[in-house]
């Protein structure tokens, strides 16, 4: 249904429930929906499962959500970074669950959820501990692992611009997980730096069509770098 333009980030995240699975865009800080996460912290939903590539950097964004104690479980490919101290402490204290998924499998499992694929066989992870307990099948002489979709109740993403119909474009490598997460959640919320009238985005260059986007909210552009992260 039609995309709505929210007046505030708080309105944009309204209705997220305790126990929800929340897909959070970004790769490190690039594409991280800082303002939506801050609003989610104010909104108060807890016991969340967060699906994101990393488990937070520094004290902002996802790290702040973790520190606020709202997250029961993180599904990600790469929690450990030079500035992932918030997650590290929670994990070592046994206060947060972790499911590590290879980065491409994480993306593809969300794509499957958005694309109506029931399950798929991937060669990634075969013969490694990350395939333990998973069904496997040999296809063309190569062992494949059966992988299942990851569907979100909500996706929070950050993008460059949107139009009033919810069409979205991204900027450089801040695109990363945004487009695939936008397909994979029941409710998709995008914070963008600018909202333009329908017809102002080049239809050839729209990356996420409005059909995938439920709510758009304009926020000030905050571009943060990871200090010394590798």
């Amino acid at each position: 249904m039609r995309t709505t333009i929210a007046d505030t980030v708080d309105a944009a995240v309204a209705g997220i429930e305790d126990g929800a699975t929340v897909l959070v865009g970004g790769f490190g800080l690039a594409g991280m929906p800082f303002d939506l996460i801050d609003a989610l912290i104010r909104q108060g939903a807890g016991d969340l499962t967060v699906v994101s590539n990393n488990a937070g950097n520094g004290d902002v964004g996802l790290a702040a959500l973790l520190r606020a104690g709202r997250v029961r479980k993180v599904v990600c490919s790469f929690p450990r970074q030079s500035d992932s101290y918030v997650f590290d402490e929670l994990y070592r204290a046994g206060r947060i669950e972790l499911e590590v998924v290879p980065q491409g499998t994480l993306a593809e499992r969300m794509r499957a959820a958005g694309a109506g694929i029931g399950a798929f066989y991937s060669p990634v992870g075969a013969g490694t501990p990350l395939a333990d307990g998973k069904e496997t099948r040999e296809i063309d002489g190569r062992v494949h692992v059966l992988e299942h979709p990851i569907k979100g109740d909500v996706a929070l993403i950050s993008a460059h611009r949107a139009d009033t119909m919810g069409n979205v474009v991204y900027r450089r490598t801040a695109r990363n997980f945004g487009p695939v997460m936008a397909t994979a959640a029941t409710t998709v919320v995008a914070q963008v730096g600018e909202i333009v009238p329908a017809g102002q985005l080049d239809p050839e260059s729209v990356v996420t069509p409005g059909i995938y986007v439920d709510r758009v909210v304009r926020t000030e552009v905050r571009r943060l770098t990871v200090q010394g992260a590798r």
Binding site: R80, V101, P102, V124, G127, L130, T173, R175, N176, P179
Partner: protein
Amino acid sequence: MTTAAGCREHPDLAPLTTEELAARIARDIPPGSYVNLGIGQPTRIAEHLAPDAGIVLHTENGMLGMGPAATGDAIDPDLTNAGKVPVTELPGAAYFHHADSFAMMRGGHLDVCVLGAFQVSHHGDLANWHTGDPDAIPAVGGAMDLAVGAREVLVMMKLFTRDGAAKLVPACTYPLTGAGCVSRVYTDHGVFEPGPDGVRVLETYGTTADTLGERLGVGLIR
């Protein structure tokens, strides 16, 4: 990668420095290749690629045509490499999302990737994501996708740990990243090709193949 006939031994040279090793690997990457350089030491290889070789760098967070690290005003937080370091864009670059980026990797479209490693087995198994230490926080990133997907998986590593233990081992004791996926292993002491029949040695630096074989405890194929 073409396999050189026999082994070129350089007992007179010192073991290669990291920079020399990066340059050595750069020389083996064919012109026109699409290449992913893993986080850490392999990123150094970029500085040794011939500018006119037309080699295009891929970064798994959604870009082909990645340029050198950004400095000063060129730093754009929306443009980083897989290690989250700000980088630059070269003419002819293209951006894409994560599912497309990893489809590209898993689908076998990258000619070469170069990864660091904790261990490589004589049969080409790779362990580079987890030491198995129960205290360590596991983090795999895109390593498994690269190990399975690139046409040639090259490893860049020191041959021995600080304690002198070989990292080219009969079987990995650390958790695997990928099974039988490594084409070639470039180390400070020599270049090796693991495989189903064992380890071939292609070059040595600061030692001989015989000495290396003894230190590694394996009969190296010439």
